[in-house]
């Protein structure tokens, strides 16, 4: 019972923040509601027993990635977004499409998905077990993602650096 109450409370917070992300017109408000979505998703992960993932969700998503977003919004001094003809067309088509799609999806999933029910903390995912999998069964993908992150760091530096600064370093070599 407590599981259902906690799921409903944080699920509603999560859904409300996701809708708020769409409604707000200023990007900083959208970013802050995205932080709320990620924080309440971390609680949902905890309810399913994935404690390591809940911690990583808070540290990586709600911490690192969102700080990056807020930093870029402030760096570019992003203001209120302008309404254009294209955005009105997509509002007329997008909102009913989303409503129909989510009602259809909920109906199919609840009635015909054939999944059972889970208790609170059904599958504990402590760091030890995750590391066991990560460094034995998934060692190759893990190493490949480390290369991916390395390339992403270099790509971000090359893309975001000012062209003059890049030319200056080339001139030195």
């Amino acid at each position: 019972m407590l599981h259902l109450i906690l799921f409903s409370v944080f699920g509603l917070i999560c859904a409300a923040a996701a809708v708020n992300l769409l409604v707000q017109s200023h990007p900083i408000n959208s970013a802050l509601s995205l932080v709320v979505v990620m924080g309440s998703l971390a609680v949902e992960y905890l309810l399913l027993g994935a404690e390591f993932l809940a911690a990583v969700q808070v540290i990586v998503y709600a911490g690192a990635i969102m700080v990056l977003f807020v930093f870029v919004i402030m760096l570019l001094n992003a203001g209120r977004e302008a309404q254009t003809k294209g955005s009105r067309v997509s509002l007329v088509i997008g909102i009913p499409g989303m409503l129909i799609g989510s009602v259809l999806m909920a109906w199919i999933l609840i009635l015909h998905s054939g999944t059972g029910s889970v208790e609170a903390g059904a599958l504990p995912g402590p760091p030890r077990e995750i590391a066991q999998l990560l460094f034995h069964q998934f060692l190759l993908p893990f190493e490949v993602t480390s290369i991916l992150v390395l390339i992403a760091i270099m790509g971000a530096v090359v893309l975001a650096a000012r062209p003059e600064a890049l030319q200056r370093t080339e001139g030195k070599n």
Binding site: S30, F69, V72, L159
Partner: protein, 100 residues
């Protein structure tokens, strides 16, 4: 006891919100945040199915998705900064030329 389908409905709703934001928003940063919302919805269904089938590999996949999302956020925001530097706008309707 909570049915797994409730978690799946929440994850599907988050994904639908992400798709809608991708379609109706015109600010490039908000569009990018909608993509993160979609990734989060998929992650929740991964964890829910991991609990349903008692397979820890579902949680490891979520870990990989988070790593890819972090890399994607870094590169994507760098591209946004580069676009803003050349076009001086964040509106995707005004970014319609491949070359200036």
């Amino acid at each position: 006891m909570v049915p797994v389908s409730y978690y799946l409905v929440l994850s599907g709703f988050l994904f639908a919100c992400g798709v809608t934001g991708f379609l109706i928003k015109r600010n490039i940063i908000t569009i990018f945040m909608s993509i993160e919302l979609m990734l989060n919805g998929v992650n929740l269904s991964f964890v829910a199915f991991a609990a349903q089938w008692h397979q820890l590999s579902g949680q490891v996949f979520v870990f990989f998705v988070m790593v890819v999302a972090a890399a994607e956020a870094a590169v994507g925001l760098a591209i946004i900064i580069a676009v803003y530097r050349t076009r001086e706008t964040l509106n995707v309707d005004q970014v319609n030329l491949l070359k200036l």
